[in-house]
Symmetry: C2
Subunit: 242 residues, 2 copies
Amino acid sequence: MRIIRLTVGYDGTDFCGWQRQPGARTVQGVVEEALAKLAGIRIPVVGAGRTDAGVHALGQVASFRAEIRLEDDELLRAINALLPGDVRVSSLRTAPAGFDARKSARSKIYRYRIFNAPLVSPFLFRYVLQWPGPLDFERMAEAARLFKRKADFTAFSSNRLLHPVRRVMGSELKKNGRGITYTIEADGFLRYMVRTIVGTLLEVGRGKIEPNTIEDFFTRKKRSLASPTAPAKGLCLIKVVY
Amino acid sequence: MRIIRLTVGYDGTDFCGWQRQPGARTVQGVVEEALAKLAGIRIPVVGAGRTDAGVHALGQVASFRAEIRLEDDELLRAINALLPGDVRVSSLRTAPAGFDARKSARSKIYRYRIFNAPLVSPFLFRYVLQWPGPLDFERMAEAARLFKRKADFTAFSSNRLLHPVRRVMGSELKKNGRGITYTIEADGFLRYMVRTIVGTLLEVGRGKIEPNTIEDFFTRKKRSLASPTAPAKGLCLIKVVY
């Protein structure tokens, strides 16, 4: 038995997220189908991050255990030949015993792209949130830094968990022309956490809330206090750190 | 009556080309539908280039005649609000009397993108032809320059026309890392002309034909002599010159 580790990129537009679901096109589903064709049996694949419908990935990591005689580079080519064009395995290697893409992950880095302009190119609209109105970038950047902490992130999630504490090691907003990019690294993410933080940053950018209101959200731990969830299409899983 | 001139960009992946066809999703069709909602009546829109299914555009130009009370910038915003995300009008203005996007065009510039690597990103696969094998770039570049001429291009088209002479003012291949880009400017294009030229350049790059064989193709004027048509997805209408 070998443990195989894959780095997977995908355009999430036409997927109902990572996780396999009956009757839905999911990334896990198409990867498992490709593997089943190669191995002759269904092999369960574990993904580091269960990205939601419409969320993209450049550096999702997945792993599976299998008896496959192909060399790593042959297996890489064979899997890609069987996958649709909107999913690509960019690297593949045999991992040390005990490796599990989800459990072994130390942190994950997500990026959210906002395009602050009245028009967005038809080649970009799948990958960014287009925001036509004015945004106060400096205040948003100040607010973004406040999320770098170890805390209960319940106010920035859609569900209540027994263990809602996450450690955010990086939380930064950058501007490049009309593009605004939010990058966050954490040891784990609650459901919709990045998109709710981005929704909150947009409320700050529009002047609806002050950056220091974010302290209140953390203190009160109530979802209803925080802001609308930003749409999935701007979000991308950039990297999983082991 | 005003003549309105639009610059239109689109991701051609999910369109059956520019030209309206019953029961098919076409760019002309969705633009005319958006206009019909604004004007209350169907207004025929003329496009400079009738791009085929799967072909993209950054700078397609279209025109139509209408009685519309909106100012140009209001009309631009209104049309974009009614168009799907994979079509964007990037500029709109009232044109001088007699302007017709197709008849007034002096030349058009198309670009074809090849990605010469075993893997292509899932964010790029809609817009490039991925070519995994070796290609002799210098020979291809030499061959590309041979298309800059006024000539009968029948050998590089899918149909026979009464007037198959076209003037190609620019025909150049450039390399940037693994990307190879072919840019061609001509006063007109026969059907599949760019894609057949690219198919021929690929045959040169693989060593199947010599660059100087291209002279034979021009002399014999027979389609069967030339090379396979490259797929639509690498092609983009960049600009229309007036």
